[in-house]
Amino acid sequence: MVPKKESVPQRVMYVEDDPDIRAIAEIALQDVGGFTARLCESGAQALDVAPAFGPELVLLDVMMPGMDGPETLRALRELPGMAQVPVIFMTARLQRSEIDEYRALGAAGVIPKPFDPMTLAEQISEILARARMEP
């Protein structure tokens, strides 16, 4: 079998309530990672933006006021064209049980916070590569 050319996502959406983290994530994704990034301040905004932006990857903060990360994921999946988009959770509370819980929700992986802006893009591609190996 000829291996399919691995598709690297271009458009990445990051949902995060903390404005400082959004600012640094923008640099980490655009300047360092070379992605086209769209930052959203809440789950609700993400639901508005997603259909037009057409993200190929979504990064979700877990703990947010209003709609939290898992809730946002469930709502996103309902949108047309968003059922298969890979999602990665960003969380400061890294516990085994939690990771399993997010995986069960259909997340491709979890990135612990605080993240390193210089290596965030690498972490993302590692997670996506791993997710492709074990569908």
């Binding site: 400082d20 640094i24 640099i27 300047d31 703990m63 400061a92």
Partner: protein, 562 residues
């Protein structure tokens, strides 16, 4: 990848970091207000939830902005509040009721505030330092000062000039004018030695002792210069308290070497880390306090089962071991420690009331190094621990450092490159890597012999130590190759710095028998932060050095990304 882009990113990151610091301090002010309420017993459930969320945010973000300590501290406090906060969020009842909070919360918040204050100060300082254009002039932590006492007609002026070319900062003062002597002694706190004529030693010693008595200065070693190298003269000088004698004509590299080693000894931290194994917890506590108040890090283990894990996590310089710890014998524990190869050279010292020489000998043969007799006075404990830590560190220095130059060995300086690259990534600052090589070194060895080759290598090592900052790392990479890591230093500044060092070095005249010779050096510079890993950065610096060698040696070439 263009380096310009990298520069942009690090500038952006630095700006964000600054902004974050401001916001974090504001957040912590809010937390402090809650901490005050806690102390008065007035904290409401809502306040507690607020604190919890605030701390959670800090814990998750501080590390991203290069403040990992703050993140860790916030996480610890977050944990303290966790169960209470979750319970309150779920119960949804009256959130304005006041509640009791875990001890230590308020103090913990104060500690957070301190962390942020310190961080702001430090980042303010580094910015000031970096923006100063003259950062490479006189700001190098390792430049060694020497006080030259000369009444004007003693001909030490040319010696001062010579020493200055080796990178020393020479302060000349007339020892007959006692006021200015006191002034220079007080103003040159970093001095490593006093240099004077042998005939003036008696005067100089008494001046020095006066200053020491007034607390103006540490007791500086006095090095004297003279023509009379007879046994009687040297004995006389030793009796007066001189530290060393150099006969004229002075062997300058050797004098430089001697002063350099004095400076290194002085700056070497004699503080250390001590693990105390003692089942009497009160006594252990007392030892810890005594040692800590003397600036020595100390930790106590009362249960031998904790011994091995604590050794790995604490990594002490020495172990103080009680002879009997409950049912366990200290002698056997010492032997058990030696089961692990990494602890084979860890000094273990017994704390013992055992004064029977036979029993002591048995303990020594089983792996302990020495005895300290109980009861130990506080003062004696501090002094003996300090000396032993110092020796232990010297020993590990010996293992890590090149014997000819005292610089880091090949493998260690390579590790430093990797470590610096990681720091660049984390903090977004630029750093440089310099590969230095002596020109036509083989000819020096062939013409003048290896003894002179060694002198040249040692001289360059000393010059580098003198001219670079304390935070720069210098290693001997190969025979006549040196590797220097310059943190927080752009390549252009690094190239300029190295160019000037190269000029100074080329001016030095090495005398060998009747003849004399001069040596030049070539250097290649690369920006560590431009590369994906340390090996690539090394390769780039090496390529730049190679280019420099091909285009005529004696100078600096910067690696360009193409």
């Amino acid at each position: 990848m263009a380096s310009q882009e990298n520069g942009d990113v690090s500038e952006k990151l630095a700006a964000l970091r600054q902004k974050f610091l401001v916001r974090a301090s504001e957040d912590i002010q809010v937390l402090r207000a809650y901490a005050e309420q806690t102390r008065r017993g007035e904290l409401s459930a809502e306040g507690l939830i607020q604190c919890y969320q605030q701390l959670h945010r800090l814990a998750g973000s501080a590390g991203t902005f290069g403040l990992p300590e703050l993140g860790v501290a916030a996480r610890a406090l977050e944990k303290k509040l966790k169960s209470q906060a979750e319970e309150l969020t779920e119960t949804e009842n009256n959130h304005s009721q006041t509640i009791d909070v875990n001890d230590g919360f308020a103090d913990g918040v104060d500690a957070l505030a301190k962390l942020v204050e310190v961080k702001s100060e430090i980042s303010g300082q580094t910015r000031a330092a970096i923006s100063r254009a003259d950062i490479f002039e006189g700001s190098h932590g390792m430049q060694v000062s020497v006080i030259v006492m000369d009444s004007g007609c003693e001909g030490l002026a040319s010696l001062s000039a010579e020493m200055a070319r080796y990178g020393f900062n020479c302060q000349t003062v007339d020892q007959k004018v006692s006021a200015s002597v006191q002034e220079v002694l007080a103003d040159t706190p970093g001095a490593a030695a006093i240099l004077c004529r042998d005939v003036a030693v008696a005067d100089v010693m008494s001046l020095r002792n006066q200053a020491t008595a007034k607390g103006l200065h540490r007791r500086l070693p006095v090095i004297c210069i003279g023509r009379d190298g007879s046994f009687n003269n040297k004995y006389h000088l030793a009796k007066l308290g001189a530290f060393a004698f150099f006969q004229e004509p002075v062997d300058i590299p050797e004098l430089a070497e001697r002063i350099e080693s004095l400076a290194i000894e002085r700056s070497a931290s004699v503080q250390g880390r001590v693990l105390i194994v003692e089942d009497d917890t009160e006594l252990a506590e007392h030892y810890c306090l005594v040692l800590q108040s003397a600036g020595i890090e100390a930790r106590a283990v009362s249960d031998p089962l904790d011994l091995m894990p604590t050794l790995s996590s604490f990594q002490p310089d020495i172990v103080l071991m009680d002879v009997q710890i409950g049912d366990y014998s200290g002698v056997t524990l010492a032997r058990l420690i030696r089961f692990e190869p990494r602890w084979l050279s860890l000094p273990i010292i017994y704390l013992s009331s055992e004064d029977d020489p036979d029993n002591q000998l048995e303990a020594l043969s089983k792996g302990a190094d020495e005895f300290l007799m109980k009861p130990v006075s506080d003062d004696y404990l501090v002094r003996s621990v300090r000396i032993r830590c110092y020796r232990a560190r010297q020993l590990s220095e010996l293992m890590n450092r090149d014997s000819l130059t005292g610089l880091l060995k090949h493998s260690l300086i390579k590790q430093e490159v990797e470590k610096e690259l990681a720091r660049c990534r984390r903090d977004g600052h630029p750093s440089s890597l310099v590969m230095l090589d002596l020109d036509h070194f083989k000819q020096i060895n062939d013409t003048w012999g290896h003894r002179y080759g060694d002198i040249v290598i040692r001289t360059l090592a000393n010059l580098l130590r003198n001219r670079l900052r304390e935070t720069d790392m210098i290693g001997r990479y190969g025979g006549e190759e040196f590797l220097v890591v310059l943190p927080h230093c752009e390549v252009t500044a690094a190239a300029e710095l190295v160019r000037r060092i190269g000029e100074s070095f080329a001016e030095l005249e090495f005398s060998a028998g009747e003849g004399s010779f001069q040596v030049t050096l070539s250097a290649g510079v690369a920006a560590i932060n431009d590369f994906a890993n340390g090996d690539d950065a090394l390769e780039a610096a090496d390529q730049a050095l190679y280019q420099r060698k091909r285009s005529g040696r004696n100078g600096v070439t910067v690696h360009s990304l193409q």
